[in-house]
Amino acid sequence: MSKLQRYIFLSLLTAGAMILSIIEGMIPLPFIAPGARLGLANIVTLTAIVIFGFKDSMLVVILRCVLMMFVAGNPISFIYSVTSGVLSVIVMHMGLKYTKKYFSLIGISVLGAITHNASQITVSAIMFESLSMYTYLPIMSLVSIFTGCFVGYTSIYITDNLNKNLLNKTKEV
């Protein structure tokens, strides 16, 4: 892939992630504080990790968070999304690197979803200075399973299609 192609791809991924952020902003999370998100943008994060690797996916996540802050004008959302986004990248990258033998992308995205929710709870625990926020962690972990499976299946579908049709790769990743 040429440099230009890569840049175009990364900006398309960032745009996709922003759209997902906007969509999940319309879904209110009943449990945690305002600014917390479901974590659908992890679809893009995971796709980016599989296709481009760690550095570029980190770039996509940070770009998405910064741009979303300019679009939505919400610094609190930014704190939530940048913390959970960065930590999700790290955990899913590690997951893909070390547990690829065992987990499919579904397992890895479940790990990512739990990281996402745990870090959001940590952010709100710090903001509200209340450790009791962690009582929501088990409920949010159950939610993580559903978002994780959804994100995992979607990422498998996207990466397969990208590999076959656009990147002209026939070999399995």
């Binding site: 305002p34 499919s104 479940v110 088990p138 972990s141 990466t159």
Partner: protein
């Protein structure tokens, strides 16, 4: 790439479900149990602190004001003043309190202890958007 959910994913998911359910049950048991009150201590119109009144919580608080001191004790879900510098010692005679709405006042030292339901406190912490 494996396009299907495999046995390890399943195990991970089952593991998370078991752990989460355990903690959800554990928490819900705790919440029904801890329908407790809190005591708020005011000294000279300022909040000194909020203390939970439950069986397992014990504390001794010494509050100093410009006029003197009050030694407050919390034990067995009750709060009372054990010692005070005030001349009338009336705050000590008000005894042990624990119920929502009860209070102890020490006028000479401008000290008030109010007991209230913990519910208000929780709502502030967990208020939804």
């Amino acid at each position: 790439m494996k396009t299907k959910i495999n046995i390890y994913d399943m195990l991970l998911i089952i593991f998370i479900i078991v752990i989460s359910s355990f903690f959800i049950l554990y928490n819900s048991r705790n919440i029904t149990y801890s329908n407790t009150n809190i005591a708020v201590i005011y000294s000279e119109d300022k909040i000194v602190g909020e203390y939970i009144l439950k069986e397992s919580y014990k504390n001794e608080i010494a509050v100093k004001s410009s006029n003197g001191y009050n030694n407050i004790k919390i034990e067995n879900g009750k709060i009372w003043i054990e010692g005070a510098s005030c001349p009338d010692q009336y705050c000590i005679h008000q005894g042990k309190i624990s119920g929502n709405g009860e209070n102890i006042v020490c006028l000479p030292n401008k000290l008030i202890i109010k007991v209230m339901s913990d519910k208000k406190n929780k709502e502030i912490d967990f208020i939804a958007p």
